[in-house]
Amino acid sequence: MATAISSPAQVLLSGNEAIARGALENGIRVATGYPGTPSTEILESLARYDSEHYVSWSTNEKVALDVGVGAAVAGSRALVTMKHVGLNVAADTLMSVAYTGVRAALVIVVADDPGVHSSQNEQDTRMYARFAELPLLEPSDSQEAKDFFRLACEISERFDTAVLLRSTTRLSHSKGMVTLGTIHPSRPVGYEKNLNKFVLVPSNARVRHEKVLERSGLLREFAETTELNRWEKGSSEIGVITSGVCYQYVKEVLPEASVFKVGLMNPLPIHRLRNFAATVDRLLVVEELEPVIEEQLKASGIQAEGKEYFSRLGEFSSERVRAGFQQAGVLPMPKAPENAGVPVAAKENLFRPPALCPGCPHTVPYLVLKKLNALVAGDIGCYTLAVYEPLAAIDTTLAMGCSIGMAVGLQKGGDGSRPVVATIGDSTFFHSGIPPLIDALYNNVKITVVILDNQTTAMTGGQEHAGTGKSLRGEKARTVDIATVCKALGAGFVEVVDPYDVSAVFRTLKAAIQYDGVSVVITNRPCVVSPATIRTTPYAVTAKECNACQMCMNLGCPAIIWTEEMHEGQHKVTIDPVACMGCAVCGLLCQTNAIIPLAADPARRTV
């Protein structure tokens, strides 16, 4: 038995929950952001604390950062959260707030997604920190996520700068033990007029750029002494420089090595790293994604190895780090596996992609678009899953809000043989769908915009937005009506349709693609799993009526699967009564009337 070492005051928190706790303990007064995996739970956990601070979802990341900058300029500590690609949306503000500085602390938490678990790319936020000349802190577990938040606030106020706190999927979504600290109330320092600092007209901007370089110099000195960076003395043969969650992998795989753990990633403590390099025979850098540390070491004339053994691609793990050290000759190569008896790995694994839920209101519009042979520009949200078989109804997915603008280009640059349709969700429409819709209307382009309004931000777990009528704290909020917005912009064809009514969707979309100009079709069924589960009487298949036509299988509904009973070489189908939400769409499609509501008679309920 191992000995007990934890104290009862500790709690198990995810990285995101620990960041929220850090915000609470350090007197954050304004917190905002836009949902995005893996950052979403930070604001959600912060909203659960009963306190006075303002915590809300913004329409997009740029607006969120603007709100945060405003709060910091007004003299209150502010937190802004987003995923890595969200920082691209907020980059305009980011590059300029780097010039202005702040009054109270401004902490920008950016969660990267190495390995692309739930994103469209795996860009490295550390590059932004160098680009914008902003300090970036990188914690390696939940406890550090909370502790670094305090230091981020201190650095922000001491050096008059916004501070980036970088998480990754593994940190955000791993739970570790955290010792809770005292909650400090926010202490606003008040607004002070300073036009030279906060109004970036060219004459001021030139002066502020000098200040940025001055600040970077001070931060470089600070980096050499801060407790954020840690030198762990070990064997003199191998020295490893690492940061973030990779530190844990290195300690697990190579416990004897000397380790320099970088907590303040930008700027790097080059002098200390040079000294560290001098004490070891061989220096390796273990960093996920881009060679940010390695290149700076080499630029400073410090010999180091890194990306030869530790890939620029994907997420690391202890096994990948171990393989890197083996390749580098630091660890012996593995022996052949001992239990090579049965080739389990050789067995084909089941392909189980994520799918649209049973009863999902996005399913029928995509089925119809496929039938209409439309060229479909998709967007970011659950509906991206309509790219998989059998719907396979999406031609492009790029980034938030890109569908409408891309549809304009697909129409203007295409041969006109297929109708061009943009599909976009409600939250994404508010995020960045309105300016491109204005563009399409202004230029009178013949496209159809399908707004799949399920009244929530479903993909990230059901967050509120401007159209849901509720705030992040669950209080009543003003509702922005999508159809009203589209009509106000001047769209001539705006139809709202029930996506469960297959023939209505078919007729409306057919009319929409024939309309000469921008047509807007809005589907209006709420998400069936969030915020509440919507379930009615499940449906069932009468096996003797089923002629295995496979029409219902075209929905890709996870509740409908094959049975082993065949009809002329095709599988008959059955419906899992536990998974079925009772949307009735398969029943509408069934031409032999084999799909009917499961009888209320409990004897027929075969769960």
Partner: protein
């Protein structure tokens, strides 16, 4: 399972989105923490939860570094679904334990091959493959036990009960953690489900290919693609056949008559022939 001095214990919990993998691992985390261990757990959120593969790594001991488990080092694999047990089996260490719920979750992606007599794409002989990997495989119908208790959603608690029978912790540790983690009105049923799993009997290895499955594995023969004839002069262009065809084999041509464009995709469901009000369509 035996605890090495200062070693780290690894439990990998896997399943399909919506099965309650994360809650189960949360409860295990609380049990370990209350016993004074360091705990780290790591899991997947977001897109993958939509019916996709869900996993949670739980590690505990005197000191835990990496939040994830390396392949070949997990003491226990707790699988909520057989095909997921197979997918993650390489994580189990030699001499480890695999606990599997025997109820299959067949994804729609496994039911897409519309050639004649094509089988469902679900791996066969899973239990046998797992037994080839480790000796201690405990497969049982956890969902069935949960249904007996009155709620299929308690399947995760039943499986936790089965896990508890290989862990060092006391029953009271588990029951306490369960009541602290689930909704108050479901505590009693969850505890009942836990005990049902803890006392579950695991059937010994049996022939993993039941007759109906073996029949499915027979060699597949493909017939020639059917021919769809459309009597052009009888077709009045009502478009019904085009709309009902589940395989999109038909299309309206420029003269507004139905036309065959993808004969090879026809699966002989006959809907076009049956639904045509003009008797203009024939499937051979």
């Amino acid at each position: 399972m035996s605890m090495e001095p200062n070693g780290t214990q690894n439990v990998l919990i896997v399943g399909v989105g919506g099965q309650g993998v994360i809650l189960a691992s949360d409860i295990l985390g609380v049990v370990c923490m209350n016993r004074g261990y360091q705990v780290k757990k790591s899991e997947v959120h977001g897109m993958a939860k939509r019916g996709g593969v869900v996993y949670s790594h739980v590690r505990y001991g005197a000191q835990v570094l990496s939040p994830t488990i390396e392949p070949g080092t997990s003491d226990v694999l707790l699988a909520f679904e057989p095909a997921e047990a197979l997918r993650w089996s390489k994580y189990v260490k030699p001499g480890g334990t695999i606990i599997v719920n025997s109820r299959k979750r067949i994804p729609p992606a496994a039911c897409q091959d519309r050639r004649m007599d094509a089988p469902t794409r679900y791996p066969q002989g899973i239990e046998q493959a797992l037994r080839g990997q480790v000796a201690d495989v405990r497969q049982f119908d956890a969902e069935g036990l949960a249904v007996e208790i009155g709620d299929h959603r308690m399947c995760n608690t039943v499986l936790l009960g089965a896990l508890s029978s290989v862990c060092e912790f006391e029953v009271q540790d588990w029951l306490g953690a369960i009541s602290a983690s689930v909704k108050p009105k479901t505590v009693e049923r969850n505890q009942k489900a836990f005990l049902a799993g803890r006392n579950a009997q695991f059937p010994a290895a049996h022939n993993p290919l039941p007759p109906e499955t073996a029949a499915m594995c027979r060699s597949v023969t493909y017939l020639d693609a059917p021919a769809i004839d459309i009597h052009d002069s009888w077709c009045k262009g009502c478009e019904i056949c085009v709309v009902v065809c589940p395989q999109a084999c038909l299309k309206m041509n420029e003269r507004n008559r139905a036309e065959v464009v993808k004969a090879e995709a026809c699966i002989r469901c006959m809907l076009c022939e049956w639904m045509c009000p003009d008797l203009a369509v024939r499937v051979q």
